[in-house]
Amino acid sequence: MPIPIVNYLALEPQPHLVAQECTACKSKFFGRHNACPKCFGETFAEFDVPATGVLKTFTIVHHDAKGVPVPYCAAIIDCGGMTVSGNIIGVDPDPEIITRGMQVQLKTYSLGTDAEGVEAIGFGFEPV
């Protein structure tokens, strides 16, 4: 069975992100939390984040740590009111092509397999 790049990427039934939602104040965030940073509540429920969104801001990274493939487009996406970090994929990382306000859709891709043949799955956002 493939493994997602992060535990908040759900691959079934359709790939989507899963946030933690504070049951008290409904604020949302990714990853394990000890308490809600907004209201200090200590119980959380899972929240399925919409797989489509609007590109809020971006950069094209040309120089990065050795081993990171460049150039790539890093972006912030608004998915139904939730701020999500992800790369823009499926288009050239070119500021003439990628524009703020663009509608984007979550897509997954293979990151390759490890020594035991397990495939890892990454995600990014493609212009709709």
Binding site: F29, K56, T59, D64, A65, P69, I76, N87, A115, A120
Partner: protein
């Protein structure tokens, strides 16, 4: 009513490549010069604040070089705000009445350090192994956004476009053109060359819209300040009182909860909160300031902080910059030192170096780059993660 606090002495070493000196040499150079500037010695110090992020040194190791009197050292780590946080610790000790004089030191050796996110991601484990709170199976830099500073601040700057679509590559490059122009008058700056808009825009792209000359410069350097209570200051010589600089506001804040900041650093809300608190504490407003040193770690950061610090109308940062206001002959000069892109950014030294720049103008001792008649100024620093210090300083009326 807590005690008013003053800068009695302050020093910034030349920034740049300081191959002849190790971290403690640089820290000692700044500390001893600040003490000399203040007209006091380590014997007068009752508390130390110390910051050195990447050199592994402490206030105790510095004391072994300049004077071991047994005073406590608050060794702080607060990203790019480390130096100003060390100073904040000393100020709090004096305001609390536990000391009447203390010294804060920030130092870094960074020349040639390259990208500060780490220069290699390594090969990783042979089998995918989820680690950390997100169960990540690999270093996420470049796969889920960027952790590189140039790219993070590029996104922060590009988002300003929401309030004004003119926030583009050329505008950010013109902000750097100002910084590099200002640096030509600063003998302490790591890079003192004027750069044309064309040179800046044609420099290698690091993270669009930031080219190399629009990014803060890694370099070596240190800065130190001697802080004194007002009660103690009034017992010192008239010359010491005349050259002392009043700390009218000293604020350290962390980023409060915002929806967006869960996924992406929010340097704006924390700066807004800190500056509002600083203006209130000082009883001054932006119109009272004669110069500002703000945290222009990347060109885009300077633009958003015009707005965050209330220097312009809300949403008016571009018109404010285009008016020429922030050039050294403008209405409110910003980063007349050359800023972090040309003066340089030895991380833990920066917070005190910005304060040194403002204090030096208020003393009327800034030489060819003096802002004439400067009576009040602001120094702002961001530590990503995120923290913010804002200090408002006033010329001595003693």
């Amino acid at each position: 009513m807590s005690e008013n606090v003053w800068i009695l002495g302050i020093h910034m070493t030349p920034f740049g490549k300081r191959a002849d000196k190790d971290v403690l040499d640089l820290a000692a150079e700044a500390a001893l010069a600040a003490l000399k500037d203040a007209g006091v010695t380590m014997k007068d110090m009752q508390v130390m604040g110390y910051g050195n992020l990447r050199g592994g040194t402490s206030g105790q190791s510095l004391q072994k070089q300049i004077g071991q009197t047994g005073i406590p050292s608050f060794n702080v780590s607060n990203a790019c705000a480390t130096g100003s946080t060390a100073m904040r610790a000393v100020i709090m000790a004096i305001k609390a009445g536990e000391a009447d004089m203390g010294i804060a030191v920030g130092v870094e050796k960074l020349y040639g350090a390259g990208l500060l996110t780490g220069n290699s991601v390594g090969s990783g484990p042979e089998t995918w192994t989820p680690t950390g709170r997100n169960g990540a199976i690999k270093n996420l830099d470049g796969y889920i956004g960027t952790s590189g500073m140039a790219g993070l601040f590029a996104q922060i700057g590009m988002a300003y476009n929401d309030s004004d679509p003119r926030a583009d590559f050329e505008l950010f490059a013109r902000i750097s053109e100002k910084s590099h122009s200002h640096s030509t008058l600063n003998p302490n700056a790591a890079y003192q060359n004027k750069m044309s808009l064309e040179q800046i825009m044609n420099d290698p792209m690091i993270a669009y819209p930031h080219t190399r000359s629009m990014c803060s410069a890694n370099c070596d350097g240190a800065a130190a300040s001697v802080i004194v209570s007002e009660t103690k200051l009034r017992t010192l010589s008239l010359e010491q009182q005349r050259r002392a600089v009043k700390i009218s506001a000293s604020i350290l804040a962390s980023d409060p909860w915002t929806e967006a900041s869960q996924e992406f650093p929010d340097v704006s809300t924390v700066t807004r909160n800190a500056s509002v608190a600083a203006y209130e504490q000082a009883g001054l407003g932006p119109d009272d300031l004669d110069l500002v040193e703000l945290h222009d770690c990347f060109a885009a950061a300077e633009l958003v902080h015009y707005d965050n610090l209330g220097l312009c109308e809300p949403g008016g940062a571009i018109d404010f910059f285009n008016s020429g206001a922030t050039w050294r002959d403008g209405k409110l000069p910003v980063n007349v030192s050359g800023g972090l892109q040309s003066k340089g950014h030895p991380i833990a030294a920066t917070g005190i170096a910005n304060i040194w720049e403002v204090a030096t103008h208020l003393r009327g001792e800034a030489g060819p780059r003096q802002i004439q008649g400067a009576k009040a100024g602001m120094a702002h620093v961001i530590g990503l993660g995120s923290s913010c210090t804002v200090h408002i300083l006033e010329k001595s009326g003693l």
